[in-house]
């Protein structure tokens, strides 16, 4: 049996290959603090993955150029190792293992989307690696008792329940009829739970409750029902693609609905891509550039938006802003811990209480940020057809009045 020889040589080749490829970076090399991140550079979340990465990169550059991180009297600079998780939870979990056990990363930044964060969190938790994440909002992330997970954003169920409450208020306190369509993924389903809660609270009725497939590019079936049943509010959530599909088809089918509430309008660049068709869409956002928070690295939201646009040629969606904020949180925690011990950094993170351009950050027991409300903005166009996102709630920051009900297509 000569074939044995072939197989044997084959196995030894693998053995050699594996043994030579064990390269270990330490968490802190020279004057660098190495952070690890699995980001969706390809697949269904690729556009938001890039927003996240841009946010991280901008903050790394900014912090490094403004003196870096001072720990134990020495100055360190941030560096991030990226991998592409392909928008796939299986891949993300694998990459987290890899970042920690092969690349020796001891501090992690979050991926994009709740589903992927759900896949990564058990791994970071197991190794006791602190992870500051900026894009996993599903509330089940914060009820698992994770000790090393910190999210700079508000949980997903708080995204749109304000919209329902506003609708009820504008309806003279009477319950409204809600139509909703959500993508089949962890984040959108959590937004749905928030709506269900709000509906229960206000006694509103849900008359359409559709589930949309991932890789969403058609929701005509839902919209036909909306046309027939004439709900007071239409809620749609399905990441960037969901927002784009909804606006495209609502305009095509001339669907009239008094209130259209969505997520991811700014990530989808709706006001740019769809112009007037996207007018009056009401969007939940973690951040808006016009908010009045500030810090010493990015200044105000307006300044952040300008710097961001200069470098990446588009208006920063909140996904980028929150990602940048994650780095500020890490820097702050390292300096307060004055150590690179994972446990100490973790404790410092838990005690975070700071203001960034993105908002106040203070973590609850479960790791979610409880010090920052959501904002709602509406896409408003001026006479020349130039559309902008204007904050309409909460009133403290409102720069425009909510247009309600949305004018009919025949009257536009």
């Amino acid at each position: 049996m000569k074939i044995n020889k072939i197989i044997l040589s084959f196995i030894s080749a693998i053995a050699i290959l594996l043994s030579t490829s064990v390269v270990s970076f330490a968490k802190v090399v020279g004057d660098k603090i190495v952070l690890g991140a699995a980001i969706s550079l390809t697949g269904k979340y690729s556009s938001n993955g890039v927003h996240t990465q841009n946010g991280y990169n901008l903050a790394v550059e900014r912090i490094n150029s403004m003196g870096g991180v001072k720990v134990g009297g020495k100055t360190y600079k941030f560096e991030i190792i990226y991998y592409d998780d392909e928008s796939n939870p299986k891949r993300a979990a694998q990459l987290a293992e890899r970042l920690i056990s092969q690349d020796g990363v001891e501090f992690m930044l979050g991926p994009y989307s709740s589903g992927l964060t759900k896949a990564i969190a058990p791994v970071t938790e197991k190794y006791g690696v602190p992870m500051v994440e900026a894009n996993g909002a599903s509330r089940s992330l914060f009820t698992k008792g994770y000790k090393y997970l910190f999210a700079v954003l508000a949980p997903a169920n708080l995204y749109l329940d304000v919209a329902i409450e506003t609708a009820v208020e504008l309806n003279g306190g009477k319950p409204v009829r809600i139509a909703q369509a959500f993508e089949q993924d962890a984040f959108s389903q959590d937004v749905r739970l928030g709506i269900l809660d709000a509906a229960k609270r206000t006694g509103s009725e849900i008359i359409i409750d559709d589930k949309l497939p991932k890789e969403l590019n058609d929701m005509a079936a839902t919209l036909v029902k909306v046309k027939q049943m004439k709900p007071d509010v239409l809620v749609v959530s399905g990441h960037t693609k969901g927002a784009l599909t909804a606006i495209r088809q609502i305009a095509e089918m001339k669907v009239d609905v008094p209130m259209l509430a969505m997520t991811h309008c700014d990530a989808a660049k709706l006001s740019k891509q769809h112009g007037k068709n996207s007018q009056y869409a009401l969007c939940a956002s973690q951040w808006h550039k016009s908010l009045t928070y500030k810090d010493k690295f990015f200044g105000t939201g307006m300044k952040y938006a300008k710097d961001f646009e200069k470098q990446f040629k588009y208006d920063p969606p909140y996904q980028s802003a929150e990602s940048s904020a994650a780095l500020l949180v890490f820097k702050d925690a390292f300096e307060r811990a004055n150590s690179f011990d994972k446990k100490k950094v973790r404790d410092a993170l838990a005690a975070t209480n700071m203001q960034t351009f993105y908002g106040n950050i203070k973590f609850a027991e479960g790791g979610q940020n409880v010090d920052k409300p959501m904002v709602l903005f509406q896409v408003i166009c001026d006479g020349s057809g130039k559309c902008e996102n204007k904050v309409v709630a909460p009133l403290k920051w409102a720069s425009a009045k909510l247009v309600h009900p949305i004018p009919k297509w025949s009257e536009r």
């Binding site: 390809t42 299986k90 293992e97 589930k211």
Partner: protein, 349 residues
Amino acid sequence: MNKNFILYALILTFGIAAPFIFPAFKVQLSILCVLIILAITWNIQGGEMGYNSFGNILFYGLGMYLCASVQVGMFFPLAEWTESGGEKTFVHTPSQFFQGMAAGLVVAAIIPTIVAGLIGYAILGLRGHYFAICTLGLGVAAGEISGGIEIIGAGQGFTTPPFPNVGGLEARGEFFYLLSFVALVLTFIVVRGVYSTRFRLILNAIRDNEDKAEAMGIQTMKYKIIGWMISAFFCGLAGGIMGGLVGYIDSTDVAFDGREMGVFMVLMAILGGKGTLWGPVIGATVFHIFKEGFWTFFLGWQYVALGVLIVVIVIYFPEGIMGWLREKYPERFGEVVDEADRKAQVELK
């Protein structure tokens, strides 16, 4: 025989020692074992029987959901576990975890086998492209359906029970590696055993000419179904292990992942050489190494690199690595080569 024994002993030792020699690669090695199982089982249909199945992912995903559901459901109310994406958390004690896993894996292997029998009875009458397309539909449908079933988490996904706090940091990796390695060895032994009987010849007869095989009195349907049930058994087992390893089950991205796993199992078997016992093993290993390499060095372009690899495979190694070796060194595969005849052929050219 003697040499064979040494070879197997060596591989076994290597397999058991691997996680201790390369501790950083435990997860990749576990995934490699799962990939090999998938390639070996796909080869029963695609290689030996000539039925290109894209539906084996159905059994893999089914096994994954079943294993996790049993593991949770044995001790806690499953609906509460998955409700709101697992908002309530119950903690398994170590003995609960391992008992649940064991029972889960048994169910994960047996139910898909039964399902394969039932579905097989219905669709194995289809041949060629019709069978391929039909099975492709099975995987897609299963993904969409499971994404709507609330009790297994629907679109929220299903977080599998976290590994209990026993042993050190490395315990989880070692446990899952050994589990997947044992499953791999089991698969290999069973498939090898099956291939050494008349069964393999019947499968080959079906591949080469199903009508003739039937005319010779072989009940082809029976053997096709049994073949598929064997595949389903081990696919389900592999799925169950993978679910625990990943820790989070998503209907279309992790469980019924026809776009990745479903295609990979076909590619791996073809790369190694379909219709051979060792081909899928070698194919899966080479594929996994290339894939991990691409994913590291061609960040963002990994799928392009993978695409190029597939094109190269199809053009230069249409018969796979084993097929290529066999053509090059036929005598090493125990084929008798008449040197004089070979020379005569060369001279004729």
